[in-house]
Amino acid sequence: MTAVGIAGVGLHPFGRFEGVSATDMGVIAVRQALAEAGVGRGGFQAAFCGTAYGGVASGHRVLGRLGMTGMPIVDVEAGCASGGAALMLAAGAIRADQYDTVLVFGIEKMPKGIIRSSFFEPWQEEAGMAATPAYFALRAQRLMQTSGVTKDHLAAVVVKNRRHGVANPDAMFRAEVDAAAVLASRVVCEPLHLWMLCSPNEGAAAVVLKRGSDGVRLAAAVLRSHLPGAVLNESTPMAGLADDTIPAPSTLAATAAYEEAGLGPEDLDVVECQDTDAARELLSYEELGLCPAGAAAKLLDEGATTLGGRVPVNVSGGLLSKGEPLGASALGQVVELVHQLRDDAGPRQVEGARVALAHTVGRGANASVVLLTR
C-alpha cells in the first residue's frame, strides 16, 4: 500500500481566547504545519477541515485568509472524531493516488458548560435528556458495577493526566491536582465530579500528509460508527437492546486499525485517548485492547499508563488538561504523537517511542483510531 507520511504539524494552544476566532486559530495552526512541511501555495491538492460547530465553509474561511484556495476544501463533521475523520479521508485519497499532498486541519470555538447539540430534539432538551455528562455518568456507573473500578480510580485518572499536563505549554490546565481535591469538586452527575470532566473549549490543529515514508508515517487512520442496538455508547439513542455483546465503535476502529497496520496493542509505546471524562479513559483501555475486559483499574493501579510506565496514556495531559475543541482535538492528539515519535516532546517525552495510537470517540457515534510509526 502507498505509504503516507506526516510532513508537518501545527497547533494553536487549546484554551479560551477572547476575541480570537476559530478562523484566526486555524490560520496559525495551518501556517505552522505548512511551514514545517515546506509546502506553500499550490503545494497541496486538497484540504479537509474538521469542525462540529464552525458552520458553513469553515475551511474556506481559514484558507481564504492565506490566499490558498482553488483546490477542493471540504469540511468534515463527525462529532469528537471530526479531525480523525478528516485525516481518514485525506489518507485514503493519497493511497488512491488522487492526491500526493493534502492539508488536514481542525478548528473549534465552543461556549462554556454543557455542550448544546442539534443532535438532540427540542423535546429531549425540554425533558432534561440533553444532559451530555449524564450519559457519561451512566456509562461510568456501569463500568463501576461490572469491574473493579471505583471512584478513587476515576480521581486517579484525573491526577495522572493533570500531572502530565503540567509539562504541556499548550494545555488549558497546567496545575497538578490531588485526589482529595478532585473528589471535593462538586458532583455534576454521580459518580462524576466536575474535575473528572473535560472542558469544551477552543483551539486548532493542522497536519500535512504527503505520499512517501520519510519521518513519521501514518500507518492507519480508521473511522467507525456504532453498531445498531447499543444503548450507552456515544450514539445516545433513547432505547436499545438488552445485549452486552455489541462491540463499541472504538473497538471496531481499533481492531481495523491494528489489522491495517499489521500491529497490535502490545506494540504501542504511547497512546492519546479520549478522556472526555475519567471513566471514558478507563473504558478506552479495554476498547483499545491495552488490557483485557475488566482490567482497566489494574492497568491504572500498576502505573502502566503513567509517563515512564509500559504504555503511557495521555502524556499531553489529555483532554482533562487540554480541554476539548471538538474539531481540533483528534488532530491535537496526532500533533502530540508526532512530536513523541520525533523525540522532541521535551519533559513529557516517552523514551524511544516508535509506535503511537490516537483515539477519539463521540457523537454519531463515531470513533477514530490513528496509528503512527517511525
Binding site: 454543557i114 455542550i115 448544546r116 438532540f120 430534539e121 427540542p122 423535546w123 432538551e125 425540554e126 425533558a127 432534561g128 435528556m129 440533553a130 444532559a131 451530555t132 455528562p133 449524564a134 455518568a137 451512566l138 456509562r139 456507573q141 456501569r142 458495577q145 462538586r186 458532583v187 455534576v188 452527575c189 454521580e190 459518580p191 462524576l192 445498531p228 442496538g229 444503548v231 450507552l232 445516545t236 439513542p237 433513547m238 432505547a239 436499545g240 437492546l241 438488552a242 445485549d243
Partner: protein, 153 residues
C-alpha cells in the same frame, strides 16, 4: 388544576398504569422506543406499534445536578436506564434524585412526572420510572399509595 400536556406527542399512552408507545419489528422481533416506522436493528419496514411494559428493572442511574441546555424544570433529577421485559433498555428520567437510594436490578414502574409550567400555564409532563418500593421511606407512617414522588396523578 392546570391542563397537563406531554412534552412530546407519541411517547406516552395515558392510562392506569401509563405505557410507553413503542414499536416491534415483525422481521427481527426487536422492540423500539420511541415508536419507529422502520427497524433500527435490521432495516425492515414491517414494524407494528405496541405498548411497552410499564415495569422493568434498573440497569444504571445517576442524577443531573445542573440544568442542561433547553431544560426549564427543577434540579436535581434522577436519570437512568431501565430494562424492560421486551429485551430493551430505555433511557429515562427517574423520580428518585438521590443516587444512593437506588440499586442495580431493582424493580421500577412507569409514571408521568412534571417538568415545568409553560408560558400558557400548562403543566408539561414527561415519562419517568419510579422505584417499586422506596428504599428508605422518609415518612413510614404515610399509607402506601401509588402516588410516589414525582407522580402527578
Amino acid at each position: 388544576m392546570p391542563v397537563t400536556v406531554a412534552v412530546h406527542e407519541g411517547l406516552l399512552a395515558d392510562g392506569d398504569p401509563p405505557h410507553l408507545l413503542g414499536s416491534r419489528c415483525r422481521t427481527c422481533g426487536g422492540h423500539h422506543f420511541p415508536r419507529h416506522q422502520t427497524c433500527a436493528y435490521c432495516a425492515s419496514g414491517d414494524v407494528e406499534p405496541v405498548e411497552l411494559s410499564s415495569t422493568g428493572s434498573l440497569w444504571t442511574w445517576t442524577a443531573v445536578t445542573a440544568a442542561p441546555p433547553g431544560y426549564r424544570g427543577e434540579v436535581p433529577y434522577g436519570f437512568g436506564v431501565v430494562e424492560l421485559p421486551e429485551g430493551i433498555r430505555v433511557v429515562t428520567r427517574l423520580t428518585e434524585p438521590d443516587p444512593s437510594r437506588l440499586r442495580a436490578g431493582q424493580s421500577m414502574h412507569l409514571v408521568t412526572a412534571p417538568l415545568h409550567v409553560d408560558d400558557e400555564g400548562r403543566q408539561i409532563v414527561t415519562y419517568a420510572f419510579a422505584p417499586e418500593t422506596p428504599e428508605t421511606p422518609e415518612t413510614p407512617e404515610t399509607p402506601e399509595t401509588p402516588s410516589t414522588p414525582g407522580t402527578d396523578r
